[in-house]
Amino acid sequence: MAPQARRQRYEGRLLVAPLSGFLIVLIGLPLVADLFYSVSKIGFENLRTPQFSGLQNYARSLSDPEFWAAAWFSLRFGLLVGFLELAIGLTLAIFLAPLLSAHSWLMGILMLPMMVAPALVGLMYRLILHEFVGPAPYYLLEWFGYFPSFLGRGNAFWTLVVIETLQWTPFALLILYGAYAAIPSDLREAAALDGAHGFRRLMAIDLPLILPTIGVTFFIRFIDSFRVFDNIYTLIGAGAGGSTTSMSIYIYEAFFKVGDIGLAVAASMVLLAASFAVLYAINRLTSRAAAT
């Protein structure tokens, strides 16, 4: 046993070495650089000779109202989109379940939105929402005699929420339908014998059983929407009076538009710390749930 264990340790090291090396170069080094630049006075002109500046960059980013506006945007956006996708996805999954289990190709059609690049979806909505050539204003005008300014200051946030939700509800639908369809039929039959039908069975049997999947789905979609960049960038950029600046857009703009590397990098580190905090909390929650 001992020589085999030793051989496995040796081979294990060799087998993970390429991946580890790759990650050290493309994740490790950038993180070190992030840390280093975040405590330096740095711009594109003195990349090689940064000056130590302590926590100044952090102080600047944390006292920047736009930083907090971006954080608030991303948080609100992520929570709202995650909740909407979950609600619509779950409703569709349960209502369409008999149809989807009889004709599985229908799921293929509903999954298509996920295949389109979010950046292209943003571009497509430039057309769809366009005042003169877009079908959305055209039909709203035809049916209701009115259409809002979709990308105006007050509406842009909601327009983006709808766009993101429509593209990724299929994800929630797919995952939740999978969990729902996997509920053993004898459990349902036992519930039916006990007189639990329809809504009562749903609340007593189905939902509790797929609750862990609901949690995971929400978490994944929250994270992905929190870091939203592509579709906002291609549809409006940080337009609409800065009312659509997500966290990712904020960092991108600080770096490329303003050239303030220190600020952008300090904001990145704060974002990383926040991500770790969320991940840690989730891991604690799920391990506690698994233990009970």
């Binding site: 087998l15 630049y37 389109v116 497509m124 055209y138 999947t213």
Partner: protein, 283 residues
């Protein structure tokens, strides 16, 4: 079943079809509207924004290739193809042996797997700035290989999770028999495990390719001319004619840019769905 109950069941079934049709229409509306517009002439686009085409034409698709001297769509498409393929292959090559070590030897299960899987939850913009500065130093900016490396990085979490599960679920007996015959681990991976896991590998590659094709942030930051992928290049056509946007041409470009992942999705929705579900549950 009474006549009334069966009539009710029929009605419910009909309602399900109606809800499906409505959901399919609304969820796929961006692609449908873009496709319809790509088949309209300039004059019709200006007067008829509805989803009904009066005089269908392929003129917009022809027009894309007529402006190839300024905006070469084939250049963007081939960039995307090469970069996505290269990124996918690299991700599988790096992750496959590591997945084997995790699944069979439990080596790295405690640190490597959680580290990589959690990477999926970290906003990529955090690494984008130092990677940009690093690339500047080593002259990888605006190269196909440079972007392919990033596409590989983006896909590593998913690929590692999927391959680890696939290997763990594969029967171990054949491997043990081969070991008795003196096969080395490398031979085992390439000649026994890889063929056995062919369908999982294929599904993983397809999903990884689609993600790579659709990646935007790093394409935007790290490329300017020679390595621009279609996800970034597509927006160039919006400004192609100087004045206003030629919506027909822009729509045709968007359709061509979306076609590869869309076709893969239509053909392999079963495998993709399984992979997405597996990735979600493990992640």
């Amino acid at each position: 079943m009474t006549a009334r109950a069966s009539a009710r069941a029929k009605l419910v079934a009909l309602a399900r079809w109606a809800v499906f049709a409505l959901a399919a229409l609304i969820l796929n509306f961006p692609v449908i509207a873009t496709f319809v517009t790509s088949l309209k002439g300039d004059a019709e686009i200006a007067t008829n924004p509805s989803l009904w085409i009066v005089a269908p034409t392929l003129g917009n698709y022809a027009a894309i290739f007529a402006m190839a001297d300024r905006f070469d769509i084939l250049h963007f498409l081939s960039n995307s193809l090469i970069e996505s393929l290269l990124g996918t292959i690299m991700a599988v090559v790096l992750a496959f042996p590591a997945a084997y070590a995790i699944a069979r030897y439990n080596f790295g299960r405690r640190w490597l797997l959680p580290l990589v899987v959690n990477l999926r939850a970290v906003p990529l913009i955090i690494f984008a700035i130092p990677i940009y500065l690093m690339y500047q130093q080593v002259h990888l900016l605006d190269t196909r290989f440079g972007l392919a490396l990033i596409l590989c990085l983006v896909n590593i979490p998913l690929v590692l999770a999927l391959l680890t599960t696939a290997i763990a679920e594969a029967p171990v007996e054949i491997e043990e028999a081969a070991r008795v015959d003196g096969a080395s681990t490398l031979v085992l991976l390439l000649h026994i495990l890889a063929p056995m896991l062919l369908s999982s590998l294929a599904a993983t590659c397809v999903l990884s390719f689609i993600y790579a094709w659709n990646e935007f942030l790093f394409g935007l930051m790290l490329t300017t001319r020679s390595a621009v992928p279609i996800s970034v290049g597509a927006s160039f056509f919006f400004a192609a004619s100087g004045g206003g946007v030629r919506w027909g041409v822009a729509s045709a470009v968007m359709m061509l840019a979306t076609l590869p992942p869309l076709l893969l999705g239509l053909l392999m929705y079963r495998q993709i769905g399984r992979s997405l579900a597996a990735g979600a549950v493990k992640g």
